[in-house]
């Protein structure tokens, strides 16, 4: 019993930095789960990735101007991510280029600027910090930022939920009834950028997307409605965060990749045993139902 306690609860009881990290995971999960589900539904799974990278130059500029300052780096990242999202949205709306192609183009420009800035004005350590984050060094102001982003995300999502679902499902119909689907799409992109910025403090730009997409794709094998998908994804994200933190503490692993790898494991397990189209279930239930 004590072994179990030492393993699973001890680290959090003994060290405040572990407790902070756990709370950070909870806050991230609350926002990221829903964002991931909608990105998958909009067939924008890879766009999360491009958005995360585009945050980099903004964060770098913030770093150059104000040093390791959370508000400056977050604001910079938010502005850069938003610029890429809006520019891509405009290009795909007014040119024949599809949304994924225009996102890919703008994020490459943005990423190159980011790497250029970091390598000419900072050290490699700084670049590693931005790319991979450090959830074990989350301070009060980061926690408040993450909690605020999670709250804003959930509140705004509740307000625009119906419009966003309708816009994802049948955008042409929504346009026919003058439902202003574009507004929901833009608000959604703003939320995605916000959650990226909130995630890169803790997990880094690369890993933040992992916590967004993997729980969402895993949820696909457990749930069949938008709200239940979001619920499962959020839960998966938080469980991944908890297990990842425990593993990183016990085996002295970097926490970001540990968390995302746990989410990846859950995804693979879901493919195998998930009750909705999971592989094993399909093999086991070869025999079909009575017609």
């Amino acid at each position: 019993m004590t072994v179990l306690y030492d393993w699973l609860i001890g680290p959090f009881a003994d060290f405040s930095f572990m407790r902070r990290a756990l709370v950070a995971c909870l806050a991230l999960s609350l926002g990221s789960g829903a964002m991931g589900v909608f990105l998958v539904l909009r067939r924008m799974s890879l766009i999360g990735d491009t958005m995360a990278h585009s945050v980099l130059p903004g964060a770098a500029i913030g770093f150059m101007l104000a040093g390791v300052s959370l508000p400056a780096m977050s604001l910079g990242g938010f502005v850069a991510g938003l610029l890429v999202a809006l520019a891509s949205g405009l290009v795909s709306r007014f040119t024949p280029l599809k949304e994924d192609a225009s996102f890919a183009s703008f994020f490459m420009i943005s990423l190159a600027i980011g790497v250029l800035l970091v390598s000419t004005h900072g050290s490699t350590v700084d670049l590693m910090h931005v790319l991979f984050g450090s959830i074990l060094a989350v301070d009060d102001s980061s926690l408040i930022l993450m909690a605020s982003v999670a709250s804003v995300t959930l509140l705004l999502l509740a307000v625009i939920f119906r419009g966003l679902v309708a816009e994802c499902f049948d955008p042409l119909y929504l346009r026919a009834v003058k439902g202003r689907g574009g507004v929901y799409h833009v608000l959604f992109l703003v939320l995605v950028v916000l959650n990226m910025v909130s995630g890169f403090q803790a997990l880094g730009t690369l890993m933040a997307v992992g916590l967004m997409m993997l729980p969402a794709t895993a949820a696909r094998f457990w749930a069949r409605q938008v709200w239940s998908l979001i619920f499962v994804a959020t839960l998966t994200a938080f469980v991944s965060g908890y297990i990842g933190l425990v593993l990183s503490y016990q085996y002295n692993l970097p926490s970001g990749p540990a968390i995302v790898l746990v989410a990846g494991m859950i995804y693979l397990i879901s493919i195998a045993v998930g009750p909705r189209d999971g592989i094993f279930l399909r093999l086991l239930t070869r025999r079909h139902l009575r017609s």
Binding site: R162, A166, F169, A176, K178, G179, Q225, V226, L229
Partner: protein, 249 residues
């Protein structure tokens, strides 16, 4: 045509993709309460016409006027192929989208509205399908669901874009009965169709399109062999190096 008040009128409308006109200097009107089939070869601009009436496409030139109905009150049935059938949404929620005019993005969805949705589903022959996932039903049943969405919108102007593609004959028969019921209730129905036999049997009026207007009027006059031949010849002429059009129809 029985009543001569135009519900929809197009004057000299040109809609273009990449500057090539999909419909070209089209002037026509649809009387209130008419049941009109829009026919023509592939690429004749049939869907473009319906989308322009629904306000989804902005004409390059000319204008589309609706009389006695707002653009947002038009019930539009998109082609089934445009809808993501793996989307996790229940049949009831799809039908309730038809009430968008009343609910908007924020309005309450009452028990009465859910009952309306169930009634609409029952009318299209899908009793008890409310909780089913939209993606789990057959293509024919999906089309029935979309008809229920049109039904519940209770609109005076109904636009159907290829409502019978990929749908079996039994479903077609049921849906045509529904269309005839709308016609009987005095609603204006405009449908893009391919099957000329179907059109001759069920649609009193037709509009034959080949980017430009070929003929409009009683179906028996419009769908003459001479007109159909002319429509095909006109729509096959796509000139990559076409000069800028200066003329009016």
């Amino acid at each position: 045509m029985t009543v001569s008040v135009p519900m929809v009128s197009l004057r000299d409308v040109t809609v273009a993709y990449d500057r090539h006109p999909a419909i070209h200097h089209l002037s026509c009107f649809f009387a209130k309460g008419c049941l009109t089939a829009v026919v023509g070869p592939n690429g004749a601009g049939k869907s473009t016409l319906v989308k322009s009436i629904a306000g989804l496409l902005r004409p390059l030139e000319g204008h589309v006027r609706l009389n006695g109905v707002e653009h947002r009150d038009v019930a539009y049935l998109p082609q089934l192929a445009n809808i993501d059938d793996s989307f996790p949404i229940s049949v009831r929620d799809v039908v309730l989208l038809g009430l968008w005019r009343r609910t908007g993005a924020f309005g309450e969805i009452s028990k009465a509205m859910c009952d309306e949705a169930s009634k609409a589903l029952s009318t299209v022959g899908l009793d008890g399908f409310e909780e089913r996932a939209f993606g789990s039903v057959s293509a024919g049943q999906r089309q029935r669901v979309l008809f229920a969405r049109v039904l519940i919108a209770d609109s005076q102007l109904i636009l159907l874009d290829e409502p019978f593609s990929a749908v079996d004959s039994r479903t077609v028969a049921d849906l045509i009965r529904l269309i005839e019921r709308w016609h009987g209730e005095g609603r204006t129905v405009i449908a893009v169709l391919h099957d000329h036999e179907q059109v001759r049997r069920h649609f009193p009026d037709s509009l034959l399109l080949a980017r430009e207007l070929v003929a409009q009027g009683a179906t028996s006059d419009v769908l003459s062999p001479a007109n159909l031949l002319r429509a095909r010849a006109m729509s096959e002429a796509w000139d990559e190096d076409a000069d800028v059009c200066r003329g009016a129809a």
